[in-house]
Amino acid sequence: MGLALLVVIWLITLVSTYFFIAKTWWLPVGAAASAGFIDRQFDLTYLLMGIVFLAAQLGLGYLAWKYRERASAPPADYSHGNTKLELVWTVLTAALFIGLNLMGSTVWAHERFDPAEGGAVQVEVTGMQFAWYFRYPGADGKYGATSPKLMDPSAGGEAALGLSGSDPAAKDDIVTGTMYVPVNREIDLSLRAVDVIHSFFVPNLRFKQDAVPGLNIHLHLRPTAIGDYEIACAELCGLGHYKMHGMVHVVSQEDFDKWLAAREAEKQ
């Protein structure tokens, strides 16, 4: 029985580890400035936890087999533990866990403590059951007023956001169902939700943030590779949660300007 246990635990451990090392399934390709930091921190955590995982599981299987009851086995050791070992283990674990945490926290601080740089491209992201809307403030750099009373989700676009017709700042606002952003520019995101909580998750951009009714959450990111990246809603928002997806198109500055100009022209 000891041998069977050893074989099963070791097999489970080694097969699990194989798929982690082979990276058969792994983080999607990173396309944002933060991806480098985040992926490095992930790799480091993965390496350290992997070592502990292998040591503990292989050790568990080995001990179970080695100290199985047999006629020839020596009597069990009458010991209540070892305080010195206990202390060493405690201090080591504490240093490992807290050290790892402090290393990761500088990245977090950079991502979330600092505001967006001046001159960042502004995009407002609004979640509603079950679609994402993106708003660009236009030439005046100001988002126009919206009114809950004017919101009409069935109409889509500006009407869904309840954009006010009387506010001059709203005149040049662009509202779209897909997101376009220029590559290598800081993007100043403003996240809102009108009905329930949604979560704006773009795996390739290493970006996730809940959009919460009543809050306007500002975050920034910097896409670094041209491409089309999928958005998936990551917070349960109702029966259409699974199909609340969207697309971020990261394009060159030139293409972005052209796209924006075309939208402005459409609106006039």
């Binding site: 069977a4 179970a64 533990g81 919101m151 919460v212 990551a234 259409g240």
Partner: protein
């Protein structure tokens, strides 16, 4: 102790007082156990339907027919709620804690037998109410077991958010009241009814785990109860605790000024300690079984006690790690993250000590031992994904993905279930006077262990690849559709593992009536429940009050006549 005499009550005669409205902690413990057993099969059946629907959406299923996306979300909500409350909180604490704790400390019953009966029957009512949610118009709620408002607070937010959602909250509120009664009883019993010589530092680790769990319950369930009442008011009385101005389907609702994050803070203030409420008794049982069947004292008894106290204490200061992506201040995320890493330290101490207990032991591979070793393995695997999720910067990628689903199922789901299995195989002889079948037990163990890993380990891979939780279909998002083959593998593993649980049920009921008769102390264990007859008499010790002379895990004592010294053995003197 004087208190014991005041609580003595004579054995009841009629069927109803003996088996239904019983005051005997042993009967109540079994009632909790069978309630949890019923609940776990309901919960497991729901997960089976979910797994099948994800892979074969067109298939019409027994009892539910065609599954629509909202049906899937109802299954998910009810699976989580039933498992967390009526299985993982009910079986380890209400079931085994109730049955074993008074006997292990040498008491004739719980401190408040009537309260004990009330707390069971209140839990039972809670279970009936939650099951009723399936049958009302609109069906069960779809807001997930965490019930985040505004989704959970608005009747118009989706199907199931009508009466079904009210029943869901009511059931949880009832459960909270029952758990508060239970917690008071456990704490008082442990503090007041210990036999002579049973000092706190001689209590079995199981007793410590139930005691600490009860303290957590007392502090956590009150908060959930209040939070639930506020949610009911937001839903039905037009208050706005959790709901700001919202527009649902173009309708401006009458709420104003509420905070969706307030619920999250209150819910997780309960929800995180709840994780430890589920797992601490498992830790106690694993320690008990490992020491007994490795024939060796537990490695570092005091460290084990302090580690559990540390986990309980820190468990109340880490709730914010569920909210890194919620819009909460990024500065507080920093604090919650550090505290969360700290809670890894006592958990690591426990693992180290379990391995230390096996080292130089003489391991007997009875089924409870297999499950205790399986518990340690799962605890390690589930625990080590914690430091990923505890770092806000990694949580950006992993939050609300299958990585989280894999993590918490391993550590608070199946690890806790393995604790329950270990406890069942271990105490079954005492409870029913017969032994369970070892061959069936071993087959059940190996299939369940391998199956569990086959289900939950791949979820970590899915999560890293960005597979989001709570999706009824993966076909709508292109990168997620590529992961369907791995999801199919998980579904197949789940079908096999769930089917294998039939082996357990057969073993349980067959052994109850046909198993070989058990002796009073079949595992040659040392704690007080093995000093009395099998099954124990109504007052547990047949009129004798035990006196305790030793610590709980005196195995392999040099110079002793046998390889173990029972806690109430006055003849053999050992250091502990």
């Amino acid at each position: 102790m004087v208190a014991q005499d005041a609580h003595a009550h004579s054995a009841p005669q009629g069927f109803i007082r003996k088996y239904i409205f019983s005051l005997d902690h042993k009967v109540i413990g079994l009632q909790y156990f069978f309630l949890a057993l019923t609940a776990v099969f309901v919960g497991m059946f729901l997960s089976l339907l979910m797994r099948i629907h994800m892979i074969w959406p067109g298939v019409s299923l027994p009892l539910v027919g065609e599954i629509k996306p909202e049906t899937y979300l109802s299954l998910l909500t009810m699976h989580g709620t039933i498992m967390v409350f009526f299985v993982l909180t009910t079986a380890p604490q209400g079931g085994f804690g109730n049955y074993v704790l008074p006997i292990q400390i040498g008491a004739p019953d719980m401190a408040f037998p009537v309260l004990n009966m009330l707390s069971f029957w209140t839990t039972f009512v809670g279970f009936v109410v939650i099951i009723a949610a399936f049958f009302v118009s609109g069906g069960a709620p779809l807001h997930g077991w965490t019930g985040y408002p505004p989704l959970s607070a608005l009747q118009s937010a989706g199907p199931g958010e009508g009466l079904g959602a009210d029943l869901w909250i009511t059931s949880i509120a009832i459960f909270c009241v029952a758990s508060l009664m239970g917690a008071l009883n456990f704490i008082t019993t442990t503090l007041d009814l210990r036999a002579k010589g049973m000092t706190m530092m001689r209590m079995p680790l199981t007793v410590w785990s139930w005691f600490i769990t009860a303290i957590l319950g007392l502090l956590a369930f009150g908060v959930l109860l209040s939070a639930g009442i506020l949610l009911l008011m937001d839903r039905n009385l037009g208050t706005s605790f959790y709901v700001p101005l919202v527009v649902v389907n173009g309708q401006v609702l009458g709420h104003k000024g509420g905070s969706p994050l307030l619920w999250q803070h209150l819910f997780w203030f309960f929800g995180h300690p709840e994780v430890y409420i589920a797992i601490l008794p498992g830790m106690g049982v694993a320690s008990q079984v490992l020491s007994t069947l490795a024939r060796k004292p537990i490695f570092g008894y005091k460290a084990m006690v302090y580690a559990m106290l540390g986990i309980g204490f820190l468990g109340f200061m880490v709730w914010g790690h569920h909210m890194f992506m919620s819009g909460m201040s990024p500065y507080s995320a920093f604090a919650f993250s550090i505290l969360t890493m700290c809670i890894g330290v006592p958990s690591a101490i426990k693992t180290f000590n379990w391995l230390g207990t096996l080292y130089k032991g003489r391991i007997r591979f009875h089924t409870p031992m297999l499950y205790a070793i399986g518990f340690v393995s799962l605890f390690v695997s589930g625990g080590l994904s914690g430091p990923f999720l505890a770092q806000p910067v990694l949580d950006i990628q992993l939050h609300d993905t299958y990585f989280v689903v894999g993590h918490f199922h391993l550590i608070m789901g199946v690890a806790a279930i393995f604790g329950i299995f270990a406890a069942t195989y271990y105490w079954f002889p005492k409870m029913f006077g017969r032994m369970m079948n070892e061959t069936l037990g071993r087959i059940h163990f190996f299939i369940t262990l391998a199956g569990t890993y086959a289900i939950f380990m791949p979820m970590h891979y899915l999560g890293m690849a960005g597979q989001t939780r709570r999706y009824s279909q993966f076909t709508e998002v292109a990168y997620q559709a590529k992961l369907i083959p791995l999801q199919t593998f998980i579904t197949v593993a789940a079908i096999i593992t769930i089917s294998a649980q039939i082996i357990f049920v057969i073993n349980l009921f067959w052994s109850m009536f046909k198993g070989p008769k058990a002796s009073d102390n079949p595992w040659e264990a040392t704690t007080l429940e093995w000093t009395t007859t099998t099954p124990p008499p109504h007052d547990n010790f047949g009129g004798v009050t035990p006196v305790v002379y030793h610590g709980p895990y005196e195995y392999g004592v040099p110079g002793a006549p046998r390889d173990f010294v029972m806690q109430n053995d006055p003849a053999t003197v050992s250091a502990h």
